[in-house]
Each structure stands twice: as structure tokens, then as C-alpha cells.
């Protein structure tokens, strides 16, 4: 039981896909100019990751080793298409703001990485928990980045005005701001881990 709990929480901090492993970066910087699309992207990605890990874990003993990568890609692409069609139908605003990055979930390294490293070797329960942990780890980082970028770049949070737009720093909404905020976030998370490590050794 404890083991399963560990799998679930692994992705949140210790092996956070974005902050620690630095994979799946592209979408995380591109869609975080506002919190709405940051959160939407995080959840869409979590859904695809969860379904793909579950399906692949169930069929892991039946997929021949030599062609496993193409099989994985087809399964991931199928779920990406499902998400794409669903968002198009029910949340067209979100699907517009995510743009080309919605279909690009299929080449998100996090999914391929987790499927290959985890789901193809573990039972469906563990794979599902791993997907939820990794997905939420991805989502919270996205929401954090987009919080700062939206607040500083446009002066709003979830579209609600916090301060006047004329005080906003446009730099944060543009491409350089994304790199900048993410760089500081990595420095912060490394710093916290270092502090926590020092505390333990004492």
C-alpha cells in the first residue's frame, strides 16, 4: 500500500517531469500565458497520459517487443485525437488558445517516457497511479508558471483584473518571459531541495 502511495507522489515533486527531469517542456512554456489554458493543457495531458498508461499496461504482455514503439505511438495518438475532438466540441475557446499544442500532446516526451519506462513494466493499478501523479505534477507546474505570467504580463488572474493593464509588464506574456519564469522556478525548486537535504543530514 505504501508502495502505491509512493508511486502516486513521486511525480509531484521528487521526479517532477518538468522541474527535475526537464521533459515535455515545449507545451509547458507555450500555453502558460494565461491560467485558463495552462490548467486546460495540464488536464488534457493528464487524461491522455492516464488512458495511455492504463491501456498499455493492460496489454503489456501482448505487445511484441520489436514493434512496441509504433504501437505506443498509435495508442497515444488515438487518445490525443479524442481529446482534440472533445475540446473542439465542448470547449472551443480552450482548443483555440492551445492551438497547435493540443495535437502536439502526442509527441510530449513525458507520455512516451512514462509509457516506455513505467507502464510497459507494471500492473494497471500502479500505471494509473503513476499517470495521475505525473499528470498532476505537470499540471501544478503549468498552473504556477501561468499564474506568474498572467499576473505580471496582463495584470489578471483567470481573466479577473487584479491591477490595471498599464502597470503590467508585457515581457512576461511574450516568449522570453516564459523561459525566465521557468528558469527561476527550477532554481527555486533546486534550492528548496537543497535546504531540505541539509536539514535531513543534520
Amino acid at each position: 500500500m505504501k508502495n502505491y502511495f509512493k508511486i502516486l507522489t513521486n511525480g509531484l515533486l521528487k521526479e517532477n517531469p518538468l522541474l527535475v527531469l526537464s521533459i515535455g517542456l515545449c507545451s509547458s512554456l507555450a500555453v502558460t500565458t494565461n491560467m485558463f489554458s495552462g490548467l486546460g493543457m495540464g488536464l488534457a495531458m493528464t487524461f491522455v497520459l492516464f488512458m495511455s498508461e492504463l491501456i498499455i499496461s493492460i496489454f503489456r504482455k501482448h505487445i511484441p517487443d520489436a514493434i512496441r514503439l509504433p504501437v505506443f505511438i498509435i495508442i497515444i495518438a488515438a487518445f490525443t485525437t479524442i481529446v482534440q475532438l472533445l475540446l473542439n466540441a465542448y470547449l472551443p475557446a480552450l482548443s483555440d488558445s492551445l492551438g497547435v499544442f493540443l495535437p502536439l500532446i502526442v509527441v510530449n516526451c513525458i507520455i512516451m517516457g512514462r509509457v516506455e519506462a513505467f507502464a510497459s513494466k507494471n500492473n494497471p493499478l500502479a500505471a494509473g497511479l503513476d499517470a495521475i501523479g505525473m499528470g498532476l505534477g505537470y499540471t501544478w507546474v503549468l498552473v504556477t508558471i501561468s499564474f506568474f505570467r498572467e499576473l505580471l504580463g496582463t495584470g489578471t488572474i483567470f481573466g479577473n483584473t487584479v491591477f490595471d493593464k498599464s502597470y503590467a509588464i508585457g515581457f512576461f506574456s511574450d516568449s522570453p518571459g516564459g523561459f525566465f519564469v521557468f528558469g527561476l522556478l527550477i532554481a527555486l525548486s533546486l534550492g528548496i531541495q537543497k535546504l531540505a537535504g541539509n536539514g535531513k543530514s543534520k
Binding site: 517542456l25 515545449c26 502536439l104 516568449s175
Partner: protein, 192 residues
Amino acid sequence: MSELLKIFIKAVLVDNVILVQYLALCPFMGMTSSTEKSFGMGIATSFVIVLATMVTYPIYHFILVPCKLEFLQTLIFILVIASLVQLVEFYLKKSAPALYSSMGVFLALITTNCAVLAVTFKCIANNFNYIQSIVYALGASGGFLLSMVIMSGVRERMRSSDVPAFLKGKAILFITASLLSLSFMGFKGLIK
């Protein structure tokens, strides 16, 4: 002609794949530790981007559209790109072993490079014709190569510089990318 030149310049500088559009950040962060490596990766990826665009464009317009299967775009394109990369790999292995040994390691990674898939999508989304698509693909891959080489040059210089302790490691790479991206924003007014 000037139309094509505009598409090209726009793809290289104004809409730079990596620094402005945030595509292909994985190789940008992982493969730029030396100029040689980043150049190899850049050339290999450029080759695949152009090839993928040349192949996916007719597939979309002559197979998917007449059959009303546009919603399968993602699935078909990624399959086409994956098998294309595999074919290129086989071909190089047999006919140009020297090139293969310098490019081969990168090729397998290119399948999951988002720049390839994104360029093919954008050619469709922008309603380019065939020539325009190829020019756009050439421009995008030129921009990719350019920013890879710039980044690796900066990183080689950075080894001898004094980085603040809290930014050591990955964080400084993103700050560097941010500054590079800032300088690329200067091209924004270039094309209306």
C-alpha cells in the same frame, strides 16, 4: 517570389521555431552542450522537417481531404513521420555509413521532436500551397539550426564564466534562452 522570401524570413527570424514558438525545447536544452553535437542534430532535424512536409502535404490534400478524414490528421502524420525517420535511418545505414555514424544517434530522437509535427500542421493550417510549404519548412529548419548553434556557442563560453550559485545547472540555461529570445523579439517589426 517576394511572397516566398517573406515566408522564409518570417520562419527563420520572426517566428523562430525554438526561441519564439517554444517548439523543440528538448533538443535545445539537451543537445547543445557542444557546437559539433548541436550542428549534427540541427542538420538531421532540418532534413526530416523538410522531408516530412514534402510527404505529409500531399497525403493530407489528396487522401485525407477527399475521404473526409481530416480528424485523423494527428494519427496519420505521426505515423508517417515515424516511418519516414525509420526509412531514412535504414537508407543511411546502408548507403552512407559515415554520415549515419555521425547523424544516427539523433535520428531516433527526431520522431518525438515536436518541431517536425508542428511544421507539418502549420503548413496545413496556414493554407500554404506546395511550394510555400516547402519554403516554410526550409525556413523553420533554418531557424532551428540557427538557434541550436547560437545556444551551443553561448554554452561553450559559459563554461569559463562565473554563474551565480543559485542559478547553476539547468536554471541558467533557461535564463540564457530568455535573453536570446529577447534579442529575437527585435526582429518582430521586420515583416508586417
